[in-house]
Assembly symmetry: none
Homo-oligomer: 189 residues x 4
């Protein structure tokens, strides 16, 4: 999705500013309520220039979301891919990562960006989890992934928006247990 870093510094600077502006605005406003002019304004970039870099605001959001998701996914994947003994650790790593950049993730998961994040999450997961088995499984891989991501996103969103007092450890515990429920790891023991 994201083209490899352009050479021209002005371009890098401009795009960064646009992403930053959108990220800021997402703290307070749903995506559909945000106007491209606002983004441009906040990014201190001309309205026209916006379109020189992104076809629409969704594209900015995708750009914005995608690398965060990719980064997060490295922590998440063991939840699904690896043998059970690691799942707890992976959950914890994930929750700590979220917790470390709480503001950003609150914006991404509880604001208007949630849909995009969820979509990007699912796509990327399926991409990276191509070696996952649904072999003898009662749950096909695609819906399994969708559900796992859905649960993860919903839980994290709830944590960030309505259960902020809970510790990463608590959430990680819940997440592990929930995913285990789906993955039936417990059942395999």
């Amino acid at each position: 999705m994201k083209t490899d870093a352009p050479i021209d510094r002005r371009i890098r600077r401009t795009r960064k500013a646009i992403r930053g502006a959108l990220q800021d605005l997402l703290h307070t406003t749903a995506l559909e309520q945000i106007t491209i002019r606002e983004i441009a304004e906040k990014a201190d970039v001309s309205y026209t220039t916006f379109f020189r870099h992104y076809p629409d605001k969704e594209a900015v959001l995708a750009d914005l979301a995608d690398d965060q998701v990719v980064r997060l996914l490295d922590l998440c994947l063991p939840l699904i891919n690896l043998p059970n003994e690691d799942s707890a650790a992976a959950c914890l790593a994930t929750c700590r990562h979220i917790s470390d950049d709480r503001m950003l993730w609150t914006a991404l998961l509880t604001g208007g960006a949630a849909g995009a994040i969820r979509a990007s999450f699912i796509t990327r997961t399926i991409e990276k989890a191509f070696d996952m088995r649904d072999a003898d499984d009662w749950l096909p891989i695609d819906i399994g992934t969708t559900l796992a991501v859905g649960i993860t996103v919903d839980l994290l969103a709830w944590w960030l928006s309505r259960a902020g007092h809970k510790s990463p450890e608590q959430i990680a515990g819940m997440l592990d247990r929930l995913l285990a429920g789906i993955m039936q790891r417990k059942a395999r023991r």
Copy 2:
């Protein structure tokens, strides 16, 4: 949301036509792509008249979605509220209900209305499940509901859009097992 049935038949007829029009359009188009003029056109109602009945298209969707959700919920609630032995039956009833009006639910769950449905679902569930216990539970009631609804909606959407060949019974089985995973019913046995 929905005002109690108006007396005037013309009003009832008009609103019904509008809802019907939107429902039709939702089969093929995402909500944001649908224009009020289209709805009015299809409902054979003047553009101006639309606004005499609904403030915007979201309101129609809410109206449309809500009573479907309410109806569905009567079948669903036992999944969460009642003792375990009934859960399988409730799941099956739910899936059959969906299956009976496949077109409508495909539109509602996989079209642009999905978000509204999900929201209405969660709201209604919490409303009706106020007597649910999260007492000794590791999972607070609100997130539990959110997750259960999320899983249900995701699974049904997947069924309707990408796994149409599966029978209501199969889906019901998966749903039961998934919710059990969350509710930990199986684990309690």
Copy 3:
């Protein structure tokens, strides 16, 4: 060009306002310098509404120019069509007509509208003078008309912009003599 008077008063009012605004602006500015937003602004009409009535400013100008030209042409045509004895009277009638609405014609003939007027003039003249003869003439009808209109417009424009002190009678005399030169009426005597 101009559709027969629309029924709705709002439409009539709006179009009139737009034409009036353009006419005003043409007093001071060339057509290309005038922006549609200015016209709308001056007409006290929303920018969008402008396009509900005219596709561009040229269309307004055409509308504006055309009926003036048609009116003027009724006075002018005898200059070309009729026997000599009437030409002086026709010239005088023309110049008096111009003089009666000096501001308007100054705008039309010396502002940015001149080209449109000239074009409309030629078109309308050829339309209405279909029975003109170039039979035994050394000068083909189309170029004859073009030149006659050109001379007339140039002379009137000069009068209005740089020789305002001259009386309609004086200008009429010059015009008669000039056209006679082209039409070779003198030569026929």
Copy 4:
């Protein structure tokens, strides 16, 4: 208008290319429809470079038109300035000159440049004809010039665009007769 030939060859080359490009484009397109980027493109010159030489496209046109006009004027002036016996010869010389570079003049007189040519023509004529008399004349010098130029330009444009089959001699004859009509030379005999 045109600065005397610059020393640097690159500059000369670039300007020449720009003028040539505009001239080419004028064959097919009106000036307002031509974009500076097109000119630069066709001239094989960077967009930026255009502005290093001309402030806008009108300036190029002026540059382009002006020296052609100056050249033509040397042939034309006798039409107005000199005693009658030379006028026929001057007309013929003018028409032959036009005929010799038919493509160029077609572009200049019938394309979007016509207005500029006309203006430059009038200006230059008045400049060079400062010693003309309107002494006992019924027609003031400025309007006389305007009309003479108008007639000449209109006639030549008509020739080039719609009467291409006529010979320079025929057009010269018409031109002579037309100008005589205005100048009343014939009448004075």
